[in-house]
């Protein structure tokens, strides 16, 4: 049996990878994917805890999260398209109409 901490550390690492991806990638699509990665890392945490606590709640929650993540992804992509229409670019660093 793999100890709980391993899962937690793994999910933390995945979460961190997601965070870093969001922070440094210059393409909105990849940034979106990184966010998904963060959410999935959390899912992993939930499952690990559910497993170690022996409760089903965690597992159920994951379904909720997946649904939410899907909704977010849809919206996200729509927004990205809308932005792309105005800018012809997907680089978040170029989007600086609004500042200060």
């Amino acid at each position: 049996m793999v100890p709980l901490d391993y899962y937690l550390i793994l999910s933390a690492i995945i979460f961190a990878i997601g965070v870093v991806g969001v922070l440094i990638r210059r393409n909105l699509i990849i940034v979106l994917m990184s966010i998904e990665l963060m959410l999935n890392a959390v899912n992993l945490t939930f499952i690990a805890f559910a497993n170690s606590l022996g409760s089903m709640d965690g597992q159920v929650i994951v379904f909720f999260v997946m649904a939410v993540a899907a909704a977010e992804a849809v919206i996200g992509l729509a927004i990205v398209i809308s932005v792309f229409r105005h800018r012809q670019s997907l680089d978040p660093q170029e989007m600086q109409l609004l500042k200060w």
Partner: protein, 641 residues
């Protein structure tokens, strides 16, 4: 220390003495223009005339040791402190009343003629009546604060009248100077009042009444009394133009001449003497103060006399002479001879008023010319003026049997018999100087050949009766008022018998050996004679010998410019103060104080502008900020664990 044995009686008549001029003043303010110039002037004069009549009546009623009292209402009451608006008349006040209303009345009459052609005649009489009111308040007030009100009020009128011809900025500046220098003195005065009130208040006595104060003087320590009297004397120095605050009086000659006669010779400037005499019970137990007063008085007398020698302006000579004569009065006060001081005040009022009015008559005749170098030989043109002027000059010079002789001699004798030989010597020398400069003036103006400018010459005329009659009355006074206070070796002093009760037994005339007294008098007379002779030798015979100011050298220049005292004050006080104010107003206030206030706002704005750069618009920067904050919190937590 003085047991008040006087009987107090209520006399409601008193209030009308000051109120009638005030009413006339009010009527002229509102209806003066409608009444017309002439009527306004007559009304004003009549009001003072009525006051004079009332004053004479009161004088007649007043028993030797009695006091009349008239309470109007409580003026200020705060806690235990209480001051009434009420008047009192005792022997001292009665004399002052007569001087103020009597001379005031004459000068009002005189002004009817003198100001006849002036546009501001109504205004002039308004001011004049107001002055009479305040002056009466000053002498009749039954407490120190009321005296102070009058004191400030006459200062106001002096300001207004000196700057009467406001078109010329110079006059207003002179008025301002008079008021401000007086205020410097008043600062001392009011602080003296405060000290008196609070020190007595500490003992549970809250009063400023002249009737009450003497009873409580013993509660005060000698040091306190000295300080109080010194402070009060500072006020007197300002009002009576003594060293070092005399500088305003010569400038104040910018006012119309009747004003100079009334305010700056006969009445207002003597208020300081009156005040010290009124508070003799405070001053008498303050030997240190008295000696300072005596020294300042003597110094002023001498110093002003020297300056008067060199002046060429007919009124300036008289102004410095007034300063000098006031010095005599303070000299008398300083040696404790209050009665003598008031006596000199009384006689001086007549002859100095006469001199001023006479000079006014001359100026009037010469179309406003005041420079004695442009006069001369006026004797024949202005006979009445001339003769009254001669009489007054004899009086002020102290020629025997004139008023000035008696009063000045009394002071000098008191100084001598008091043992203050140095003061006496200064007094005698000053008497000589006085004789010299007065006769110098007389000769320069009336004798010798005429130096009057040609365009003025045809218009020279004797003044109308409305001006000469007051002159004559005053000239008569200049001789006979002195006879009231003749020394014991002649027919004795009526004056002392009248005034002495006010000052209690403290300072009766000291009676030394009669021979000494006569000897001392003879010394004075001799010196006066020398002064007259020198003036005669130098000015009467040559007549035309006049030293132009530019060519003047050495001592003469020093005297002509009155020792450059004005410039000295300007250098050490006025300019530094102006510079400090300027620095405060133009640098410190806007840049430092306001700068701090605005600085706070600027700093906030600056922070705002800098910090706002953090909002770069780049979403990933935001996220980094987010993450950094999260990590910081995380680290904080983990360290807590």
């Amino acid at each position: 220390m003085v047991a008040s044995t006087s009987t107090v009686a209520t006399l409601e008549l008193l209030r009308w003495i000051p109120l009638i001029p005030l009413c006339a003043c009010a009527i002229n303010i509102f209806f003066g223009r409608a009444l017309g110039h002439r009527t306004a002037g007559v009304l004003a004069s009549a009001a003072v005339g009525v006051s004079l009549a009332l004053a004479l009546y009161v004088f007649w009623l007043l028993p030797a040791t009695g006091i009349f009292h008239d309470l109007l209402y409580t003026w200020i009451e705060s806690g235990s402190f209480r001051v009434n608006l009420s008047f009192q008349v005792d022997a001292l006040t009665a004399i002052m009343l007569l001087v103020v209303t009597g001379i005031g009345f004459l000068i009002h009459i005189y002004s009817l003629g003198y100001m006849a052609h002036d546009d501001g005649k109504v205004r002039f009489f308004i001011y004049l009546n107001l002055f009479i009111f305040f002056m009466l308040l000053l002498v009749m007030g039954d407490n120190l604060l009321l005296l102070f009100v009058g004191w400030e009020g006459v200062g106001l009128c002096s300001y207004l009248l000196v700057g009467f011809w406001y078109h010329d900025a110079k006059n207003t500046i002179a008025g301002n100077k008079a008021f401000i220098v007086n205020r410097i003195g008043d600062l001392g005065f009011i602080l003296g009042i405060f000290l008196l009130v609070t020190e007595l208040g500490r003992q549970g006595i809250w009063t400023l009444d002249f009737a009450e104060l003497p009873k409580h003087v013993s509660l005060l320590t000698p040091a306190t009394i000295t300080l109080i009297t010194l402070l009060l004397f500072v006020g007197a120095v300002g009002k009576s133009a003594q060293i070092p605050l005399f500088v305003w009086l010569p400038d104040a000659m910018a006012g119309p001449t009747p004003v100079s006669a009334l305010i700056h010779a006969a009445t207002m400037v003597t208020a300081g003497v009156y005040m010290t005499a009124r508070l003799h019970f405070l001053f008498a137990p303050a030997p240190y103060t008295l000696s300072i007063i005596a020294i300042i008085g003597a110094a002023t007398a001498f110093f002003a006399a020297t300056v008067a020698i060199a002046q060429n302006d007919i009124k300036k000579v008289l102004a410095y002479s007034t300063v000098s004569q006031l010095g005599y009065m303070f000299l008398a006060v300083g040696i404790g001879a209050f009665s003598a001081a008031i006596f000199h005040l009384f006689t001086h009022a007549f002859f100095k008023a006469c001199l001023f009015l006479g000079s006014g008559s001359v100026i009037h005749a010469l179309d406003g010319e005041q420079d004695m170098r442009k006069m001369g030989g006026l004797r024949s043109y202005l006979p009445k003026t001339y003769w009254t002027y001669v009489i007054a000059t004899l009086a002020i010079a102290g020629v025997p049997l004139t008023a000035g002789f008696f009063s000045k001699d009394l002071i000098l004798w008191q100084a001598f018999s008091h043992g203050s030989y140095a003061l006496w010597l200064v007094g005698v020398v000053t008497a000589g100087l006085t004789a010299f400069y007065m006769f110098r003036q007389l000769f320069m103006v009336f004798h010798g050949s005429s130096r009057v400018e040609d365009h003025v010459k045809p218009h020279i005329h004797e003044s109308p009766a409305v001006m000469t009659v007051p002159l004559i009355v005053l000239a008569i006074g200049s001789i006979f008022t002195g006879w009231l206070g003749a020394p014991e070796y002649l027919w004795g002093s009526l004056w002392d018998r009248w005034v002495q009760p006010v000052f209690g037994g403290a300072h009766g005339a000291e009676h030394g050996p009669v021979t000494t007294e006569i000897l001392v008098t003879l010394v004075t007379v001799a010196i006066v004679a020398i002064g007259i002779y020198l003036a005669y030798a130098r000015y009467a015979r040559t007549g035309t010998r006049v030293v132009p100011a530019e060519a003047a050298a050495g001592l003469y220049r020093v005297l002509l410019n009155s020792y450059w005292i004005d410039e000295f004050y300007d250098r050490i006080a006025v300019r530094p103060f102006t510079r400090v104010s300027q620095w405060l107003a133009q640098i410190f206030d806007p840049l430092v104080i306001d700068g701090l206030v605005n600085g706070v706002a600027k700093v906030a704005r600056g922070f705002s502008l800098i910090w706002r750069e953090a909002q770069t618009g780049n979403v990933q920067h935001y996220l980094i900020g987010f993450l950094a904050a999260t990590l910081a919190l995380l680290i904080y937590y983990l360290r807590q664990l």
